[in-house]
């Protein structure tokens, strides 16, 4: 009798992912090469959607916004998260588990609630303005907080920071305090320990966290709708509109896959940079 190996246990999951993940994405890719209108697509195969996806001035503006917001959000998250991850890894404070709990728990706080909270805080009638008004600091509300790229970036950092902290913390896990003590004993100051010991170890997780935040931020379509106003729109919004109100599935697909292409290119650049600096092959002797 033929006995199926343990691998057969994975078959149901494989089937589900093929049906609900791989097949739809493949169909979506094919759609990007057809002509779309009124929620239907028709042949023949064409690259026109890609031409429009790349050449339209509106798409270019939104792509620039996506790039800027993605970069700012990713850099800010990593810079903010690195010291936090460092503290979580090496502190002997009894608050360590509490902070860990608070950070992981905030990861699960509702996405929409966070966006809503920032609108409440940054709005022209919001907490910052009404607070400053009460204190007599300002007479007219400050409007530069909301409905622009800044507001979108702040909310995105808020959404992804906990995840970045956890990734960096996991990345520092193999670097036991003994390494840092050894560096200290050998005369390395605080700055040198960071530059020569912590940062090389953190490089690969930093790169993966950076890409994660960049990709999710650049493709976000909800945050810019509520916080972005006219200057903070992102590419995700136009994809969503093509897939819903506009009904042009083909163009929506072409913009989405152009964006995916850009993401893959960025991924390639980051991976290459890690390889050239040999930071991708650090090994720990245990």
């Amino acid at each position: 009798m033929l006995r199926a190996g343990p691998l057969a246990l994975a078959a149901p999951a494989v089937a589900v992912l093929l049906v609900f993940f791989v097949a739809p994405l493949t169909a979506f890719a094919v759609y990007s090469l057809l002509t779309g209108a009124f929620y239907e697509v028709s042949g023949p195969l064409t690259l026109d959607n890609y031409r429009e996806a790349v050449e339209s001035p509106l798409h270019r503006t939104l792509a620039r916004n996506s790039l800027l917001v993605g970069l700012f959000a990713a850099v800010a998250s990593v810079v903010f998260a690195l010291p936090i991850a460092y503290w979580l890894r090496y502190t002997r404070s009894r608050w360590r588990m509490v902070v860990m709990f608070l950070i992981i728990a905030s990861f699960l706080a509702s996405y929409l609630v966070r966006i809503y909270a920032w609108r409440t805080i940054l709005g022209s009638n919001g907490l910052i303005n009404s607070g400053l008004d009460q204190l007599g600091v300002i007479d007219d509300p400050l409007t530069f907080f909301l409905y622009n790229r800044f507001a979108v970036t702040v909310a995105l950092v808020h959404i992804y920071l906990p995840y970045v902290v956890l990734v960096l913390y996991a990345g520092l896990a193999p670097l036991s305090p003994a390494y840092l003590e050894a560096a200290q004993d050998l005369g390395a100051g605080r700055w040198q320990r960071w530059r020569r010991v912590v940062l090389p170890v953190a490089a690969a997780p930093v790169a993966s966290a950076f890409l994660f935040v960049f990709v999710l931020s650049a493709a976000d379509y909800v945050t810019p709708q509520f916080l972005g106003g006219t200057s903070g729109g992102l590419l995700g919004v136009i994809i969503q509109q093509n897939m819903t109100a506009q009904g042009d599935y083909a163009l929506g697909a072409a913009i989405a896959f152009s964006m995916l292409g850009a993401f893959l290119a960025l991924y390639g650049v980051v991976a290459l940079a890690l390889r050239l600096t040999r930071l991708d092959r650090l090994r720990f002797v245990s």
Partner: protein, 278 residues
């Protein structure tokens, strides 16, 4: 003594981080108890009127019920499929192991927008009517990698000698799984299923594309946010926050309890799971 961990600057960042993460959420909680509709200072006193409003709303109730149905279906399916997949992959030396692990991880790397739009197109193509079932299928794709990474990390770290010993003593494969493997990992699996539940319960980005005429709690919040500034959103948000927090406490407690039992450390399994991610 000044050890390398004594960095005041890192501590300051940590405090700032916790304040930044929790401050805005606490603002929402505070204003859910505000006695007026104003979402600005000065604060005019406490009241439960917004909670009364949402508890008497049929729309909120049906949205919450739908969210519960979808999240339960998603978490239960993920628990079964994910456990099978993680067990299968950790107990084989087949060359298909690497590619399959990649497939199971892949949905995490893609923004929800792509998963949602691709599924929208696919469901339209094969003429499947959008409903809570299509939402649950989409959520399954979204939460599966999270569950799989945690389950695999837990199963990977078991001592294989125990399973081998049981098999040598004549236990069949199912008996080994049920009597040797499962008792060691069930807290982590249940914890990861709670995480799957919480992720599904709050999902909006993908849901938006595949839901059809029904509503879920995030869909309700979204449509309310678009229409007006309605202070009852604060109350819904607060309850949502408390609910996911509760789920998270269960996850955290189960995974760190099982870790402590295993090796005396209380690291929740989320951390090693992240480390194993490709």
């Amino acid at each position: 003594m000044t050890g390398p961990g004594r960095s005041g600057l890192a501590g300051a960042f940590t405090v700032a981080g916790v304040v930044f993460l929790w401050g805005p959420l606490l603002v929402v909680v505070l204003f859910s108890l505000h006695s007026t509709a104003a979402l600005s200072f000065p604060f005019r006193g406490f009241s439960l009127r917004w909670y009364e409003e949402i508890f008497s709303s049929a729309e909120v109730r049906s949205a919450a019920e739908n969210s519960l149905i979808v999240a339960t279906a998603t978490a239960a399916t993920t628990l079964v499929l994910g456990t099978l997949a993680a067990y299968g992959l950790t107990r084989t030396s087949s060359r298909a192991r690497g590619p399959l692990a990649l497939l199971f991880f892949l949905p995490i790397t893609l923004p929800g927008l792509f998963i949602g739009t691709a599924l929208l197109v696919a469901f339209a193509r094969i003429e499947v009517t959008l409903s809570l079932a299509t939402v649950a299928a989409a959520h399954l794709v979204y939460v599966f990698p999270f569950f799989f990474l945690i389950a695999r990390a837990a199963l990977d770290r078991l001592d294989p000698a125990l399973e081998e010993a049981a098999a040598d003593l004549g236990a069949g494969r199912w008996l080994v799984f049920r009597r040797v493997t499962l008792p060691q990992v069930w807290p982590v699996l249940v914890g990861a299923a709670c995480l799957a539940f919480a992720l599904s319960f709050d999902e909006f980005i993908i849901t938006f594309f595949v839901i059809g005429p029904d509503s879920t709690l995030p869909m309700f919040i979204w449509s309310t946010l678009r229409r007006t500034i309605d202070p009852s959103i604060n109350a819904i948000s607060t309850l949502l926050l408390l609910f996911t927090l509760l789920l998270f406490v269960v996850t955290f407690a189960l995974t760190s309890w099982s870790e402590r039992r295993r090796r005396g450390s209380a690291e929740p399994l989320v951390v090693p799971a992240l480390k194993d991610a490709p």
